[in-house]
Subunit: 309 residues, 2 copies
């Protein structure tokens, strides 16, 4: 049994590869909820939804978010009524937020709702929000403290970033389902997926109960670098890292995860910059075959790092 930590697109893709190569029930994905926010009266969980949609093979591959074949009629109509439509919510996607919000208001936990959605979408692996407690990524910028989506989507990352805060993380705890997964005797390894280590994995690691579990692990933990040739695969991450004065090298990734990982998988394009225990491979996931291959290589790397007992 494998536990994967994931944020949005890149992480979801490797999680999908793992879901396809591992037997049903042998994968638990811990997903970042720091990007969650309340918008239009709805509770929106961007990263859990990206993982749900990707593992259900319903995600739009081109756009990188939302559902394939999606329409945006509600957003157009909302604009006509003068409503806030800067955060594009597809029509089918809206149903996820409406139903999640209704169930949260009725007292269900985010974990229970996510598990039900996963089952309804035919996913046989566990998808667990990092916590049922609210953790919110706050971006401190030269334009003030901004909720993550406000900075990221509404303002297109234009303000200069000064620091990141994961509000609520200090007191957040893993859900009972997550604690049970972390304690499983048949856990063979942990994989930090190629999501942004600072923005997407950072909030997960800011939860004391998860960080200490990872620090005290008895199985190998590897991270898959999101960098290819010293660049983030997707857009604004490079600007964000530059403003945080974090270099985009395997070294920066390895130091960020120091004490938490036993090895780092990096792309061939970064082989010259390898730092510490590394495995080098092609990390770009263009199609499902790429996802499965990278998943198999990550699993094989874990086995190589396992101490001969």
């Amino acid at each position: 049994m494998i536990i994967a930590l994931a944020g949005g697109v890149g992480g979801a893709r490797l999680a999908h590869g793992l879901a396809r190569v591992l037997p049903p029930g042998e994968l638990t994905v811990i997903v970042n909820t720091g990007d969650d926010f309340e918008h239009l009266g709805l509770h929106i969980s961007p990263d859990p939804d990206t993982v749900l949609y990707t593992l259900a093979e319903l995600a739009d591959a081109e756009r990188g978010w939302g559902l394939r074949g999606e329409t945006f009629h509600a957003m157009e109509a909302l604009g006509r009524l003068g409503g806030e439509n800067w955060f594009a919510l597809g029509d089918r996607d809206l149903a996820t937020h409406i139903e999640r919000t209704r169930r949260l208001a009725a007292g269900d936990t985010l974990s229970a709702i996510t598990a039900d959605f996963a089952a309804r979408l035919g996913i046989s692996q566990a998808i667990l929000p990092m916590s049922d407690d609210a953790v919110r990524t706050i971006v401190h910028t030269d334009a003030g403290a901004l909720p993550f989506q406000d900075y990221f989507v509404r303002r297109h990352c234009a303000p200069r970033l000064i620091s990141l805060e994961f509000a609520g993380a200090e007191t957040a705890t893993p859900s009972p389902a997550l604690r049970a997964a972390m304690a499983r005797a048949d856990l063979r390894g942990i994989i930090i997926c190629p999501s942004n280590p600072f923005l997407s994995i950072g909030p997960i690691l800011a939860i004391p109960g998860i960080r200490s579990w990872l620090a005290g692990r008895r199985v190998p933990c590897i991270a898959v670098s999101p960098l290819i040739g010293g660049k983030a695969v997707k857009g604004p991450a490079a600007k964000i890292l530059a403003e945080l004065q974090i270099e985009t090298t395997p070294r920066a990734i390895a130091l960020h995860y120091q004490g938490l990982i036993d090895g780092l998988m990096i792309d061939e394009a970064d082989a010259a910059d390898r730092f510490g225990e590394c495995a080098v491979t092609a990390t770009l996931m263009r199609d499902i075959a790429d996802r499965e291959r990278l998943a198999r290589e990550a699993l094989a790397y874990i086995e190589r790092l396992r101490p001969a007992a």
Copy 2:
């Protein structure tokens, strides 16, 4: 200036005719909110929306509710997630409910929100909910007391109807905007549109402040019968009236509005059953020309009923 009372489809169509033949700003439509309900965490106002969409010329004429060219992708997706999708909300229509719910939660009144929506949709006439206080039509049936939409949509009117209750009407008051409209010195007449007198107009008349204003009116008030040949134009109304032991005749309509109207417009097919002060015409509104013609005839009838001063 004319005030019209309206419920759903039939009422909205005559209101649309009136809006087209009267100068901008010379029509105020008081709309039933007894069918309003909370569903999926959203505040849904079926009759105000039907009036809004009809006057904006965005309504679907075939279906009789919702928007023309509408899609239902969110409902399909909601069904996939196990959500309640018995009340079909179109994707564009959802935006109306989401934005209304958000603004109500922010403290805006239903009147203010409806007025803003009307302006955004290019409507130059006033559309006013009958009250900003909650009035809810409860249907007492052999299956117990049911919220109106539960009885009407979810159960397809199957339970036998015993009585109607307009919960909250006794203490509901007209909004300031509605009081101002009712008090206007240039009011020339009042038209009760061909909505169901018991189900759709009943809740409006159950508000003491509106009923007493109508009873003490100084201008003519006419009602346009929703019957054609002793039948309701649209489906389940006939079953409902039969179970309430109300006959579907001009007489029953006239007695229901006794003391509140000065004349009743009935269809040619009901001419033999005329009762009291009546005007006979073709009341079926198949197209916009029909709506305009019936509106002109209703306005002319009001002028005929005006006491020579």
